[in-house]
Amino acid sequence: MPEVIVPIGPHHPALKEPVNFKVIADGEKIIRLDLDLSYSHRGIEKAAEQRDFIRVLPLLERVCGICSHSHTTVFAKGIEELMQLEIPLRAQYVRTIIAELERMHSHLLWLGVAAHEIGFNTLFMWTWRDREAVQDTLEEMSGNRVHYGMNEVGGVRRDLTPEQVNAALARLPQLEERVKKYIDMVNNQKTLLVRFRGIGKLSKEEALKYGAVGPTARASGVDYDARRDDPYLVYADIPWNVVTDTNGDVYGRTRVRIGELMESIRIVRFCLENLPEGQIRVNAPKTAPKGEILSRYEAPRGELVHFIRTNGTDKVERVDIRTPTLANWTSVAMCLVNQNLADIPVIVAAIDPCLSCTSRIAVVDNHTRRAGVITLDELRKRSRARFQRLE
């Protein structure tokens, strides 16, 4: 079977993170995918073995810029469970508030990036402008727009003052109104419907078989959410719903993420209104007893898993991080099969990769032995042109 190798590092102007994967194609149809993740490999797991529990948290926070709170929370709660430490209820509420605010800013970011991929720059600008309201709230509460540094083993480092709570509550109604407008747009706007429907479809069986997680899996009807299945923080005690969809394509993933945005706004409002009094931290022992734990967390992109092993000292012996994007890559590879080359930007963006790519696409036509190089910008133009013809 004649094969064409298309090495891709799509140049994602919005999220420029380097990863390289080769798409092996037969003409315009894709056959399979090869992956190279070494661009951003920093050796964090090795370094974490040499830092004690206070110093390792800023390192783990910087595994990813968008889900930084997820990594510190999942690690801190794992260590706390190994130490058999119960953290105060107020600290858990604060962690939940920051976690859901992080989910909100991540989903708004994704919506803008996905809109940019199909050429809908207006939505890109609107969602990122609305995202600034969330960033302002996070900056008031933690001091930084990204990398909040709220967690420590034993609780949270900063408390929420009544002024911060009221300011945050005051921003929520307008945000809710804007999100309702996006729901309306996704359900009725012709541009989004045509571009997203039918692209990158994953059936429920395929989603389970290839190990998809997060909104990518929930859009195919797979009903897994680590906040409900392995409850942590206060998710077991407050009213909220898991959002699933049955479409399974990029349109379904959009609907799931916007649904989760609404749920997050409700959770944040509930937590801010019902914030219990009390301490925000307890004194944690310096060392953790020998043990092993699998700590799970529902990050904005999917389920994040830390496998932690301790050996009685003040450092971990091993922390094995499995990020949700790594779990989703296999399903991306599979749902790209038999799709067109021009659909690659949209499908890759739809899993909300916490890795993007930089380099050019080289297309080698096996039949004529001609080689050409096209950038992802060109591919994106082709993709937009193709869809303009469909309308």
Partner: protein, 177 residues
């Protein structure tokens, strides 16, 4: 050193460069927080496009390169290659703690510790990640440097003037006052 006065076309080019610098981004393997803050600069809240600053994909169209993230071993050679493709006059801004010294990743087995050891850097922006305000400040610093370089006819004046390695925006502000 006396500089011959520039002709009309050269003055036009200098004016265009100062008034509308084009920027290219290069992520050398970090956590992406700096990239998000750069993109936030383009968004309606900070909106650097009203100053004529465009973010272009290709290094060949750029005046200023913004390097985000800390340099991994894999990206070091690519960073050098991309930098070589930028036509003169070119300026490099290294963002954040990672750009200056490797940040939290200093000394790890897959890292080159600072952008400075791979390519010459003209401005460092502080923060982890630096706020969009700091990033705009760094771009303005580069523009001030560009003005000085044009007036002196090149970049050599920095060595002789005692500004060997410009480390932060405050130093440049004092030098150009």
């Amino acid at each position: 050193m006396a500089v011959p006065s520039a002709g009309v076309s050269q003055r036009l080019v200098n004016w265009a460069r100062l008034k509308s610098p084009w920027v290219t981004l290069f992520n050398s393997g970090g956590c992406n927080a700096c990239d998000i803050e750069v993109i936030a600069c383009l968004m309606p809240r900070f909106d650097i496009e009203r100053f004529g600053i465009l973010v272009k994909g290709s290094p060949r169209h750029a005046d200023i390169m913004i390097v985000t993230g800390h340099v991994t071993l894999k990206q070091a050679s690519r960073l050098r290659r991309v930098w070589e493709q930028i036509p003169e006059p070119k300026y490099v801004i290294a963002l954040g703690a990672c750009g200056a010294s490797g940040g939290v990743f200093h000394g790890l087995y897959h890292s080159v510790n600072s952008v400075d050891s791979v390519i010459p850097v003209d401005a460092f922006a502080v923060g982890c990640p630096p706020r969009p305000d700091e990033i705009i400040n760094a771009v303005v610093t580069c523009l001030n440097l560009l003005k000085e370089d044009i007036a002196h006819g090149g970049k050599e004046w920095r060595q002789t003037n005692g500004i060997k390695n410009i480390k932060n925006t405050n130093e440049i502000r004092e030098a150009t006052l």
